[in-house]
Amino acid sequence: MDNTPEPRSPRRITPSTSIKKSKPVKRKAPDEEVDEFKPKKRQSMANRGPEKRYVESSSEDEAPRGKKKAPSPMEIEDDSDEDDMDDFIDDDEEDDRGKKSKVKSKPPAKTKKVVMTKKETKLTPVKKAAAKVAAKKEEDEVQEPEEKPKPKYNWAAAKARAEAGPKAPGSKEIPEGVPDCLAGLTFVFTGELTSLGRDEAIELAKRYSGRVTGAPSSKTSYVIVGENAGKSKMDAIQKKNIPTLTEDEFLDLIRTRHGAELDEKQLKAQEKEQKKIEEAAMAMAAKEREEEKLRKRKEAAKAIPISSQLWTTKYAPQTAKDLCGNKAPIGRLLDWLKDWDKNFKSGFKKPGKEGLGIFRAVLISGPPGIGKTTSAHLMAKEAGYNPIELNASDARSKKLIEHHTNIDNASLDGFFQGAGAKTTVMDMRLDSKTCLIMDEVDGMSAGDRGGVGALNALIKKTRIPMILICNDKSLQKMKPLINTTYGMPFKRPGPNEVRSRIMSILYKEKLKIPTNVVDQLVQGANSDIRQVLNMLSTFKLGKSEMSFDEGKALLKVNEKNTIMTPFTIIDKLTGPYAFSHTNRETLNEKAELYFHDFSFVPLFMQEHYLKTLPARASKEDGPLKDLKHLDLVSKAADSISDGDLIDRMIHGSEQHWSLLPIHAFASTVTPASLIYGSINKPGYGGGFGPAFPQWLGQNSKQGKLSRQLTDIQIRMRLRVSGSRQEIREQYMPLLAGHIVSPLMDRGSDALDEVIEYMDEYYLSKEDWDAFVELGVDSMREEFVLKKIPSAVKSAFTRQYNKTDHPIAFHKGDLFAASKKKIADIGPAPDNEDVFEEDEPVPDEEEEKGDEEEDIDVTKDRLIKAVKPKVVKGKGKK
């Protein structure tokens, strides 16, 4: 400890001093409330041990090196407070923004200084509230009233801060640009921005109709570069000579750019699109009217009025043109259907242009909500077929399929033979122009025993085209279908493909939603058109216009229905910026992730927490970094350990389920907050991202081995009084010297001796295997088995099976299986009586034998086989 001050002192002195001074000033100046708690904290920090001081000093002297700096570990503690505060601020601000954007057409351009002032005000809730009131009163002049209640504005501090770059999260004013002001621009974000989170920045760009892509390309207009930008991206940027922006410049761009910078071509394209949308909507309306007429005509038939239909039904595609995406497979499907008769006649021998000709059935696969069923129906109709659909609501067991589709008798031929014979599927009449659509084939499960097999048999014989639909064709039970059907994977349509369809529906429904919001919705719903329509139709009930934020909120509401896998949850919780100052998720939102799967997430966290490079240690160098890392890991481990204690209270006898939220923090959120960062060595532990928890495997292995140990113990019980643990800890190492090592050292010569020892302790060959499996270190199973030549192993097995061995007892199940009579007498407890009947026999023999040999043979039919062996053993003595 004596030598530590030496390296410390030079670091502390020089450049950091100026920063040190300026920093507290910056923070304190604008507000007293900040004043109240900040200094206290600083002081308490100074009082801490030498280690902490070291950390502090080293982090401070780094400030001058990089202009903008992420908070040091010390500051992070503060940040947690600030983070929370910022979350509130943000929410309010967004609300304000929403209101303002509607009223205001164009905000006045702000100077940088004004921005600074606002930044300062944000640090305090009080000011924020004041600002809010002011904003509500005079929405057109936002800035001026804010400056008034702040007479003592410290310009020097503001200047210093502008130089150092803002550090506090959310410290920058998010500007309000003209709607669509970024239209036509493509952005790429790289590195960690200082005040905006990555998601926020992307959202901001999209809000103003900018495009955001992942990697820079020649089409990229700007790259916004943050801290620690990826090297490959920077190289690409330089190579392609793409203009770069800092965060401030990006915000300025939004502030200053006017939207109407579209050239003629773009305008034309926009117009054209708008026209197309309107046309489509008109067509829809026309169709609707027609149908309405039709309906009125046959009102007696009580058809449902179109206005009361679900949107998903109302706007279900009517023609191939209406389908969004998957043009290629849909076209192929149509071709196949049209050629079906031809192919049938040629006996499915000619593959045809795309190899479709040899299949009697196709298998459409893809995620839900992208129009698989609709496509199948539409194409069947378009090809002139009459589709019959069987889906999961129909029982489709082997028996039913065979019976109802009559594949085993000739009646499917009925329709060729004239009107006399009827062929039916599920009581629906079939004719030569019927197409069978088997929906949700992967839904054939327990109830539909043998369904897939029968379906496959049906496919091989069918005389009508069959279209099978499933979500996942890689499932094991779908295997039989792979060879007999033509696989036709459907993909999610991109937002571009869906956009125009949705827009025309919206136009028809008189909902005013801008394009970027529609894109956002489509993307957020993973291109599930059905879900988007459902969301919109619900939204229509309340409002007729949707802003960007409302779209976001709507998505958020609907997002909750999806359950994330533990892998994604861990990724999200321990990602490089998961707890950084730009992250806007509250702690509660993070804890919410735990509840997606509260039995698995803690296990995943425990598996993962050692495999990151904590962002909190990234500011240190060399050994200090390792120490900090260890410190974080140790704290995380402690928290996980706490979590286990809480888990015991939840799952133990007390069942305190109300502790679940606390468990969420102890087991998941706290460790994540300590060790978040990029993954150490991608691919460590087999594959990228979080690994599957070992604990599950190891626990079941432990269970298995401990059962085997119990078996060994109970067999040895007649000789040994020790408990399981004592057997494992004390007997096994020594006994291994008698029954395992000799085989390793002396090979076959030792067989007799080994088997004799095993018989002495009633160990069978299986117990020997278990015995070996239980070894560790130099007695590890793999190690031991490698050392015993396979010839010796097989000789051992042979020799063991050749001779008879004493058996301590029969396992219950073995006994019952071999001797039914006994099992029939009654339940297990009655066995005792049975043995007592047997008793006299071994007793007599026992008397003949030596008293010392009290092998348990009472209930054992093998007694006669055993006896000679025992006598032999005695003879040796």
């Binding site: 530590t4 260890l630 888990d647 000789r719 020790g722 190492p733 560790v776």
Partner: protein, 358 residues
């Protein structure tokens, strides 16, 4: 061909080498005809079960040594089936209810009622009651212990209980008050030497004093361990002369390796490796407390004096948590992480002053 520890196990109270006073008391108890419920307690390898079997032999004669093993099936109220191995003679029954974990209550209730409600049918039997031996009584859950209470009084005529435990602290007071507590202390070095010499004499060789001393010191009052080590040494070097390294069991050397690797490098990566090794030990049925104890002892041996109290403090701290928690590896890992962190800090001269009160 059996191991010495089994071969020379005393069978009657007279054969016992130490605690003669206890032996004579047990003898008079079994002769009195008013045999009480007994709770035997003492450290592992002190001779509890040996004494129990000797007492039973005193009670019933040699017939009690004719053991048989049954696998009995019990059904929990929730319909789960439990296999329990039961060792019994005509006069007694021995079971280890803790084998089935939290369902031990079912086993206790079923077996005890069954025994208690049937009277001894053998007219030649010396005693009218049967004896039930409950092993690892300190591992019984509270529920199971509560289930014992009333049966112990109610069926006194038909049944006596002998509980076997390492410590009485986990046995509820009502049970303790219903039993005669018999403490079987670990033998001291002299007594152990006596036993070892007895075995050597029976095996017809000479046991040098130095070897005898190293065995007794290595076994720490555990006679079973002493005899096993003794035999291992004899296998290793038949003359038992000179400086003999007492052979360590496989798990102990492995634990030592874990400790060494902790001291060798302190990084998260190393902790990950250590986790793998800990899993290996635990899954191979080495009890977590033993692992923790062995590792921390090894570390304490190797580190600087100033660190020793810290290491021991943390070992105790995490052992308590391990007992309270359910996933042992979490606490073991937290212990290793803490030791690594403390050790590394001390190596860099940055260790904070340790406050024992925390």
């Amino acid at each position: 061909m059996s191991l010495w520890v089994d071969k020379y196990r005393p069978r009657t109270l007279d054969d016992l080498h130490y605690h003669t006073e206890l032996s004579s008391r047990l003898r008079s108890l079994s002769a009195s005809g008013d045999f009480p419920h007994i709770l035997f307690y003492g450290p592992s390898g002190a001779g509890k079960k040996t004494r129990i079997m000797c007492t039973l032999r005193e009670l019933y004669g040699p017939g009690v040594e004719k053991l048989r093993i049954d696998q009995r099936v019990f059904v929990t109220p929730s319909g789960r089936k439990l296999d329990v191995n039961v060792v019994q003679s005509n006069y007694h029954i021995e079971l280890t209810p803790s084998d089935v974990g939290m369902y031990d209550r079912v086993v206790i209730q079923d077996i005890l009622k069954e025994i208690a409600q049937t009277q001894q049918v053998d007219l030649n039997a010396k005693q009218r009651f049967k004896v039930v031996i409950v092993n690892e009584a300190d591992a019984l859950t509270r529920d199971a212990q509560a289930a014992l209470r009333r049966t112990m009084e109610k069926y006194m005529t038909n049944m006596r209980l002998i509980l076997c435990a390492t410590s009485t602290s986990k046995i509820i007071a009502p049970i303790r008050s219903r039993c005669l507590l018999v403490r079987v202390a670990a033998p001291d070095n002299g007594e152990m030497t006596k036993v070892l010499q007895h075995v050597a004499k029976k095996e017809r060789f000479h046991l040098p004093d130095t070897a005898c001393q190293s065995i007794t010191s290595a076994s720490g009052g555990n006679l079973r361990k002493a005899l096993l080590v003794f035999e291992a040494m004899r296998m290793q070097r038949p003359d038992l002369q000179g400086d003999i390294e007492v052979a360590k069991p496989d798990w102990e050397t492995y634990c030592a390796k874990v400790a060494d690797s902790i001291l060798q490098e302190q990084t998260a990566q190393r902790l990950l490796d250590v986790r793998g090794k800990l899993y290996e030990l635990l899954s191979h049925c080495i009890p977590p407390t033993v692992v923790l104890k062995t590792i921390s002892e090894r570390i304490v041996d190797k580190v600087d004096d100033t660190l020793k109290p810290q290491i021991i403090h943390w070992a105790a701290y995490y052992e308590l948590r391990m007992r309270m928690g359910s996933k042992k590896i979490y606490h073991l890992e937290a212990f290793v992480a803490k030791v690594m962190s403390v050790y590394k800090a001390s190596m860099m001269g940055m260790l904070e002053d340790f406050d024992m009160t925390m």
